[in-house]
């Protein structure tokens, strides 16, 4: 049976179909699923296209930010209130990809893709899921990524997080061999809230350093309560690789990713990246 496409208006209907049919997948912009069809990876099943306006909602003006799962990278780039997310959004493909690639789709992108998700992970994002008959519920993004491999996550409606305080509180770095558009060797997102010159509640996340974007909890522990001086940064570089499981692919070997991660982490924390 070839791939079918169903267009549904409401989230409830889409969530119920997803809950009842394990062969059904929600179509975001198509950069992952249509590619899978083109490559013959997806040969049957149902693609759901939900056109509910809630999926395109952007609420970015206040301290709490909510972004619909269907918001594209181009929409993020067009929004001045989301300037701290412009670097990760700009890192997704070229302009023609960014007009279609969605936040929700990025949450399901296999490594080495998913750089925007690493940024959301560093912002401690919470995902709102519509699981079908039970209505909506929230789940930390980190937990959702853990559950992702098992499938049946449900319909991702939106992601929410607190806006970083201060222009320098959120930093993002993508390392690629080709500029300005290239697949990630790795990416690093850092949320570095500071209190009286000392880091408090830091969140560091990596892209392409494991099967999904992951938190660098050892680095976060090193940073806690410290100032961002040379000694602290040196200590973070020592802790940088804990918990990572990079893959070898056409972009970089596992060894190379491990070799360069501490260097780039150090540069990002030192503010030496452009």
């Amino acid at each position: 049976m070839p791939v079918n496409v169903r267009i549904v208006q409401g989230l409830q209907e889409a969530a119920e179909i997803l809950a009842a049919d394990r062969g059904a997948l929600l179509l975001g912009g198509g950069t992952l699923l249509v590619r899978a069809i083109n490559e013959g990876v997806m040969t049957e099943g149902t693609l759901l296209r939900a056109v509910d306006p809630a999926l395109l909602a952007i609420n970015a003006g206040g301290a709490r930010v909510e972004l619909g799962a269907g918001v594209t990278m181009a929409m993020v780039l067009a929004n001045r209130d989301l300037s701290y997310l412009h670097a990760p959004a700009r890192g997704i493909g070229g302009p023609a990809v960014r007009t279609t690639a969605t936040i929700g789709g990025n949450l399901f992108a296999a490594t080495p893709y998913g750089d925007f998700t690493a940024a959301l992970l560093a912002l401690d994002a919470v995902v709102t899921l519509h699981a079908g008959f039970g209505g909506a519920r929230e789940m930390p993004l980190e937990e959702m990524l853990t559950n992702r491999a098992r499938g049946g996550v449900g319909l991702v409606v939106s992601v929410g997080f607190n806006r970083p305080v201060g222009a320098d509180a959120f930093r993002f770095l993508k390392v690629a061999r080709v500029r300005p558009k290239g697949v990630s060797v790795l990416s690093i997102a850092a949320h570095l809230p500071q209190n009286a010159g000392r880091v408090s509640g830091a969140r560091i996340a990596y892209g392409a350093m494991g099967p999904t974007p992951l938190r660098a909890k050892a680095v976060e522990r090193v940073l806690e309560g410290q100032s961002l001086d040379a000694a602290t940064i040196a200590a973070t570089k020592t802790a940088a690789l804990e918990g990572t499981m990079p893959a070898t692919d056409a972009i970089a070997s596992e060894w190379y990713r491990r070799e360069v991660l501490p260097v780039h982490l150090g540069r990002l924390l030192a503010g030496e990246t452009s």
Binding site: M1, P2, V3, N4, V5, I7, L27, G29, G30, T31, V34, R35, I37, N38, E39, L47, R49, A74, G93, G94, P95, A96, V97, T99, T100, P180, K181
Partner: protein, 160 residues
Amino acid sequence: MARMPVQFRLNGSDRAVFVEPAETLLGTIRRGLGDFAPKFGCGQGTCGVCTVLVDGEPRLGCLTLSVTCEGRSIETASGLADGPTLHPLQAAFMEHFAAQCGFCTPGMLMAAKALLDRNPNPTRIEVVEAIAGNICRCTGYEPIINAILAAAQQRGARRA
């Protein structure tokens, strides 16, 4: 699987077609409607040769399902020229030797048109960023960048 009806405008003309549910816009434009300007390259969203404009935004025809284009306005490189008069971008590509084998050219032209429609006076960096999703393997990027900048300059001169 039942074919689905889709209506959209293609280069200013209303078109109505029946498509397979998972048919790409590129397939519909090429096989269904006979416009062979956008090309099939990688099918992965990497090369950009299938770039078309959907409601003025650059999109990859190979990753866009036709059923998602209901009511949209599609532009391809076939619609750039006005009769025998080339679009300024096409003329600039010719004058600056920005097309060698020509395979990437339709995608490059549409990526450039999306840029100039939005930003008539781009910087060189903005041009590079605009065509970052389009791969050229023979001409080289410098003549293409120069052609786009020249087209922008020419359009600016005409407006002045």
